[in-house]
């Protein structure tokens, strides 16, 4: 089973303070200050890579990881190679800048359409923009069936279809059968992503990352970047924190004692 996995190299902002750059307006979707932020593979993409590795262990085949991004994204691609991906492709061109989800899917689809694959995997959504749009858009561009929010996959040798579970709201799953080749967007928690071994990391250092630009993809300049996008960023801003919470201040002991009083007054203890 040959699998293509699309990944994104993103800043980890879960505990970081975020500031908007003064020139955010000219930077399209990337207008936050990057100093001090640690970049890594987007969380759901990490699960998508693991799902590909699990399927490869069961059914053989090759895994190709792809990303649209700057040179720094090689870090994420190398980590995928270290875990067991066979090839890595980085799609980089100044003219890609300003691409929204639609234009990004266009770039990916041009790179993928002539490859041999049974499955294309993406994360459900990226940690930075959270749009959950590239995967399902890409499926339509490639003309293959898709399923979003996949939390379980079952395949059989030489079958041209798969059974997958999609996550619905409230703890319910939907089971469906899908014909291959197909695109699945992978939800976090579907598996346990592995860590790369030292041996794997060493081996990955020697592998070549293929870099393709707009001309290699034979795409028109108008099909990418802002011109190829269907949405544009007007403004980024830090939302007003209408902090409703009464913030308790003092040492851990002081705030704890204050809380216990509150609990007593509200009759919870």
């Amino acid at each position: 089973m040959d699998i293509v996995v699309c990944v994104k190299h993103v800043p980890d902002t879960t505990e970081a303070e975020i500031a908007i750059r003064d020139d955010a307006g000219q930077l399209g979707w990337h207008g936050i200050k990057r100093e001090g932020l640690v970049f890594d593979i987007s969380e759901a993409d990490n699960y998508a890579v693991e799902e590909a590795l699990v399927l490869k262990e069961e059914f053989d085949g090759a895994i190709t990881v792809l990303t649209v991004g700057p040179e720094g994204a090689d870090e994420t691609l190398r980590m995928c190679l270290a875990k067991g991906a066979d090839q890595a492709v980085r799609l980089t061109d100044e003219r890609f800048e300003g691409s929204d989800s639609f234009a990004t899917a266009r770039i990916l689809s041009e790179a993928i359409k002539d490859m041999d694959y049974d499955l294309v995997l993406t994360g459900v959504q990226a940690d930075d923009d959270g749009a959950a749009q590239v995967g399902v858009t890409l499926a339509e561009m490639l003309g293959i069936p898709h399923a979003a929010l996949v939390v379980s996959t079952e395949a059989e040798e030489d079958e041209d279809k798969m059974t997958v579970h999609r996550e619905l709201e409230g703890g319910l799953h939907e089971v469906l059968e899908i014909e291959l080749p197909a695109l699945l967007t992978i939800q976090t928690g579907i598996n346990e992503p592995r860590y790369a071994s030292i041996f794997g990391i060493r081996k990955a250092m020697k592998k070549k990352i293929e870099v393709l630009d707009l001309d290699d993809l034979e795409l028109a300049e108008e099909a990418v970047g802002e011109a190829g996008s269907k949405t544009s960023l007007v403004k980024l801003f830090i939302p007003m924190v209408t902090a409703k919470a009464t913030i308790l201040e003092g040492s851990p002991e002081q705030v704890s004692s204050e809380l216990v009083t509150i609990f007593k007054n509200e009759g919870v203890v």
Binding site: W29, F102, V134, V136, T163, L176, A245, E253
Partner: protein
């Protein structure tokens, strides 16, 4: 401006809340734009749902087909692509849900329409040829973005769940219910719905607890869970968690609070090391008293909490447990 389409979302015979939230927003937009509000209902034996929708829309278009009994984005896409092409609505609104996320991007791409997903705000500029502007969140809610659509005859947007209020007030709109022929012919082979599966149920039902202590990503390691478990015990409550903790396998899935997990409304909800992503908040915001412990003062959880402690949970949780006699 053409009609405003709201895709009615329903499952197992019931309309989902997001449907009414979108109709509420749709009504507001319809009034501003002087456009009819149309609920679009795809399903099988859904007369009852259509009657319900008619109260909140100027028109209900019903597409009845056996193949539409359960949601299948492939079937929905075929039906909606034809309806949008024929009726040319000005706006198509669907939920940013397990259905909308599976459907909106491919439908928009097929029809070459601009789409903004997971909107928490949507307005149109004044005047003829009005263009929509959407507001959505990025970086887990720490940044907001105002987003414009490229010029089009039909705009598409998905609405975040619980982002738009719905108030069941005012006169019913009493829209007409009109049946539209289904364009589906042969059974769709490339994607087939098989069944629903309920998540496994464990020994504790967190929705019934008076006190819920919930743990988030801030707990760092599975072995630290014991710390919070002691606090839950001291409070006579149950232990629950946000998605990352369940994904990591530190708590079973039936302890997950949020959109894809359970919705809880305890008397006391203590959020420990939870940032407060919208997908979590939707499952706990109705709790009577919410206490948040998080070292990040900008964490969105402080927007919903009643009491907040901005400090290291590894210091506060043991201190609080001790004060409770645990």
């Amino acid at each position: 401006m053409g009609e405003i389409f709201v895709l009615a979302e329903h499952r197992q015979g019931e309309l989902r809340d997001v449907t009414f939230e979108m109709l509420g927003k749709g009504q507001e937009l319809a009034a501003t734009l002087d456009a009819p509000l149309v609920a679009v209902l795809l399903g099988h034996n859904v007369d009852g749902l259509a009657t319900e929708l008619a109260k909140h829309a100027n028109l209900v278009l019903v597409i009845e087909d056996e193949q539409l009994e359960h949601f299948n984005s492939a079937a929905y896409q075929q039906v909606l692509a034809r309806m949008i092409t024929e009726r040319k609505p000005g706006l198509v609104l669907m939920g940013h849900t397990s259905y909308g996320m599976d459907l909106a991007p491919s439908l928009a791409t097929q029809l070459d329409l601009p789409l903004v997903t997971d909107c928490v705000g949507l307005e149109f500029e004044d005047g003829p040829g009005a263009q929509p502007l959407a507001v959505r969140e990025m970086y887990g809610g720490k940044v907001s973005a105002k987003v414009a659509f490229s010029q089009a005859g039909t705009y598409m947007a998905t609405a975040r769940q619980a982002a738009f209020p719905f108030e069941e007030e005012g006169e019913p709109l009493g829209g007409e219910v009109v049946a539209v022929d289904s364009p589906l012919t042969d059974e769709i082979e490339y994607r087939k719905f098989l069944e629903y599966v309920e998540a496994a149920v464990g020994d504790v039902d967190i929705t019934q607890a008076d006190v819920v202590v919930a743990v988030g990503r801030g707990i760092k390691e599975g072995e630290n869970m014991a710390l919070v478990e002691k606090l839950a015990e001291a409070l006579g409550g149950v232990l629950a968690g946000s998605r990352p903790v369940v994904d990591a396998g530190w708590l079973p899935p039936d302890r997950q609070v949020g959109q894809s997990g359970k919705t809880v409304k305890p008397r006391l909800f203590v959020a420990v090391g939870i940032s407060g992503a919208s997908q979590h908040v939707v499952g706990m915001k109705a709790s009577s008293t919410i206490v948040a412990i998080n070292k990040d003062p900008d964490a969105p959880i402080f927007k919903v909490a009643h009491y907040g402690i901005v400090d290291d949970l590894f210091k506060v949780v043991p201190a609080l447990t001790a004060q409770l006699g645990g």
